[in-house]
Symmetry: C2
Subunit: 125 residues, 2 copies
DNA sequence: TTGCTATTACGAAAAGTTTCGTATATCTTT
DNA sequence: AAAGATATACGAAACTTTTCGTAATAGCAA
């Protein structure tokens, strides 16, 4: 399990790294700029700090360094959810689930998928 | 809807304020210290800053000031969930719901409650 | 009244985050 | 080889967060 806690900005970058598996600073910065304006060196610095923290690893063989996330997406998100639940929902994951669900607009197929997961959970017990 | 974004520490305090409706700094600090050690003046300063930000209001009539949250619990949590989903789940609330549910250990009664919510959502569409 | 305790006020240090400017190195093209 | 473009490195400024030390004030008790 990852023991670091990414900031929002770091999480955005991890998100992109998980999607693409590996990416250069330039690629990440371009992706970020589709949403909002960020300077190249700003993104670079952030990714360098993430490297110092051990959040990402990189291959410096080529001129353009290639970055990748260290921790698995699922593990990282689990610890993040756990933290969020502890701080904002008194430790009750179900409270979070109910409110998130009630608030979102869900398609029928999504709801079907969810019902399936519930069935599995019921069988396990 | 609340437009401020509470930090984790601020969220912990808001959480306690919603529970008790109102509370003095001393009460909040005592509650916080059940989990981890925090100095009284640290909690005080934090709550004063929250007041500056308009996150909490207070009654200074008595010597011991009485604090209360400004925004509604449900509204605040909704914006927080929205942020969380945008940053960590590419905007998909259902992704969050599925992972949170899969990760938590849920009782049958909780699952029943959830199924009921799903039924309601299905009827609405 | 004179201390003792509890509370808020003030300010500031330490640490972390975010953003860039500038410098340096490397690759490409001519 | 020289010029131009592209990358990373370094350092620092601006801001926010977190934590407390110290001071001032109000209430209580002997």
């Amino acid at each position: 399990m990852p023991k670091f806690k990414p900031t929002d900005a770091e999480m955005e970058i991890l998100q992109l790294l998980w999607e693409k598996e590996t990416a250069s600073v330039r690629e990440i910065n371009d992706k970020l700029n589709e949403k909002r304006e960020v300077g190249y060196t700003t993104t670079l610095k952030l990714m360098q700090i993430m490297h110092e923290k051990g959040m990402v690893k990189r291959d410096t063989a080529a001129r353009s360094h290639i970055y990748a996330a260290v921790a698995k997406e699922h593990d990282t998100k689990n610890t993040l959810i756990q933290d969020f639940v502890d701080i904002a929902f008194n430790g009750s994951a179900m409270s979070l689930v109910m409110q998130a669900l009630g608030n979102a607009s869900s398609s029928q197929s999504e709801l079907d998928e969810l019902k399936e997961l519930i069935s599995k959970l019921e069988q396990k017990s």
